[in-house]
């Protein structure tokens, strides 16, 4: 059994329902995403079109994140899912450097790496991933790509010649396919991020990886006395009582 995903970009209407469902199901903290829908505008006025591309972990058959993880926190499950054991993760961020798709984030609450697991916990109890259930147009298709009778396998067969994966040149063998995608949507070097052309926001970068209070001293003291009293600022600030929590789940 090899579980895989397929997104039909011709059907996706960019409602972000899957993104929200994933956030809720997996309690993904603020400033982190396991699944996101990216809007890309193509062409010149008046011949423009907007495409929506849901992006998540590809559960690569030859996963660089698994290879680099020094403690096997990232590991393969028998059904092909690349799973993560947060309790073992040392937070070296090697996987974030290795994943060619930027699918891994440092959880700001646990200070460990995390990512889409294809909702492995739901699969275990016979349910579909939360994003699949939420999609109103059934653009997310999930199933066993080794079973030729599965819906996903038949969908792939029906759309032969129009199936893409992200960055095939990386030899990661993604188990996540797209129908109706193209270079402009799937290759990050083929589109630009221009300041001022965003719909609701500017081009932004995360201010921190993992816990925003995660200073040098905090790393060593926090497990014993908590972040409230142990961040770098509080260490030097003799008058103040406690540091206020900021965005990032505190």
């Amino acid at each position: 059994m090899k579980l895989g995903f397929l997104v039909d970009l011709n059907l996706c209407m960019g409602c972000k329902g899957c993104e929200i469902a994933c956030k809720v199901e997996n309690e993904v903290p603020l400033s982190s995403w396991r699944l996101r829908v990216k809007y890309i505008d193509i062409g010149s006025f008046p011949n423009t079109s907007r495409s929506f591309t849901p992006l998540r972990c590809n559960h690569c058959e030859n996963a660089p994140c698994e290879r680099i993880c020094p403690v096997s926190a990232l590991h393969y499950l028998e059904n092909g899912i690349v799973n993560i054991d947060s309790s073992r993760c040392i937070g070296c961020a090697g996987c974030m450097m290795a994943c060619p798709y930027g699918a891994i984030y440092m959880d700001p609450e646990t200070n460990t790496a995390d990512k889409c697991t294809y909702c492995a916990h739901r699969i275990e109890s016979g349910m579909m991933p939360a994003c699949v259930v939420a999609c109103p147009v059934e653009a997310n298709i999930f199933g066993d790509v080794e079973d030729e009778h599965s819906y996903i396998s038949r969908y792939i067969m029906e759309h032969q010649g129009n199936i893409q994966v992200r960055k095939p040149e990386k030899h990661t063998n993604p188990k996540h396919y797209y129908v109706g995608g193209g270079t402009q949507t799937l290759n990050p070097l083929a589109h630009q991020r221009l300041e001022g052309y965003g719909l609701f926001n500017n081009v932004t970068h995360l201010a921190h990886n993992g816990d925003p209070h995660h200073g040098v001293i905090d790393r060593f003291l926090a497990p014993f006395i908590g972040h409230e009293t142990a961040d770098n600022k509080a260490f030097m600030d003799f008058d103040a009582g406690q540091t206020k929590s900021k965005e990032g789940g505190h």
Binding site: S44, G102, Q192
Partner: protein
């Protein structure tokens, strides 16, 4: 106007989440820089130890492992501090995953540090007969086993090579960063070790004979020039891979990384080469020391830029 600036074939991202910034920052730069000193002094020091008599390089036997020990501890400290879960470092030893260069490197570097510590204790106990007083068991044991130094030394030198190189494999395993390719990074790590090792030894070579110092300046000259040309090769001729080219645009196009890169190249590679060359004949210790300090500073800057620019590229 967008219709004029965007070519028809190109696309613009109009809605997306915030992108991650630099994931491995200055701590990893410092980590690589300190490790270059830690292994470099052993590699270069080994050459001097075999080439010259004890009287010609009087303090080398203990100074070399001492410098290495200090640098390796800086390296280990920042490796630990950079982890988001530093206490779980122990998991690398409890649950090692051998396909990971991080695991292999952590094991080798730990063993290397242990052996360098033994060399340092024996070297210092031999060089300073009153060290530790009469009651200290450690120094007494070290003096009784003085020959152990020479026995393990070849193994330490041998181990210094993979300890120098494994970071290059970590970078190569970072499949997302096309700029870092195993062959070039391995060579660059080795040259960085020669640069940092010779520079650190130059700073403590005041009492050595001038041939030893001349050898150090020659090693420094070789390492900085070879490394400089490798950087230039990548800077100008990496156009075969679109990702590498897009990464190098962060220095090609000017801005802070361009300034840091060229400042590092001039400060740490070009100037030290000519300064060291000027001391080959006349043995000017002050100029050579100055070259060594510039090399160490420039190496840090070059490593820093090379570490950070691939992380600026959006991956998805």
């Amino acid at each position: 106007m967008v219709e004029n600036t965007i070519q028809a074939t190109q696309a613009v991202v109009t809605l997306d989440v915030a992108l991650p910034g630099i994931i491995w920052g200055w701590m990893i730069t410092l980590n690589m820089w300190a490790k270059s000193i830690g292994t470099g002094v052993i590699l270069v020091g080994a050459y001097l130890l075999y080439r010259y008599k004890k009287e010609e390089t009087p303090n080398l036997r203990w100074m070399m492992p001492l410098l290495s020990f200090v640098a390796l501890n800086v390296f280990l400290l920042f490796t630990l501090v950079d982890l988001h879960q530093p206490y779980r470092m122990i998991n690398i030893f409890l649950y090692p995953h051998w396909t990971s260069a991080i695991t292999v490197g952590a094991w080798m570097a730990s063993l290397f540090t242990l052996l360098v510590t033994i060399l340092m204790v024996i070297g210092a106990a031999d060089a300073f007969p009153r060290l530790g007083g009469k009651k200290c068991k450690v120094t007494a044991m070290a003096r009784n086993n003085s020959g152990f130094y020479e026995k393990i030394f070849p193994f330490v030198v041998f181990l210094a090579i993979p300890v120098t190189m494994y970071t290059a494999i970590i970078m190569a395993e970072s499949s997302a960063r096309e700029l870092w390719q195993a062959p070039t990074e391995m060579m660059q790590m080795f040259l960085a070790a020669l640069m940092a090792g010779s520079a650190a030894l130059i700073l403590s070579s005041g009492s050595w004979n001038k041939e030893a110092r001349r050898d150090l300046s020659l090693i420094l000259m070789f390492a900085v020039s070879a490394s400089f040309f490798m950087y230039m090769g990548e800077y100008f001729f990496s156009f075969k891979s679109s990702e590498a080219e897009a990464t190098l645009a962060y220095i090609h196009a000017g801005g802070e990384y361009s300034a840091e890169f060229w400042f590092g190249m001039i400060l740490g590679f070009i100037i030290p080469f000519f300064l060291a060359a000027s001391t080959v004949k006349n043995d000017n210790k002050t100029v050579l020391r100055f070259a060594a300090i510039l090399t160490l500073a420039g190496l840090y800057l070059a490593k820093d830029v090379w570490l950070k620019i691939p992380q600026m590229l959006p991956l998805s």
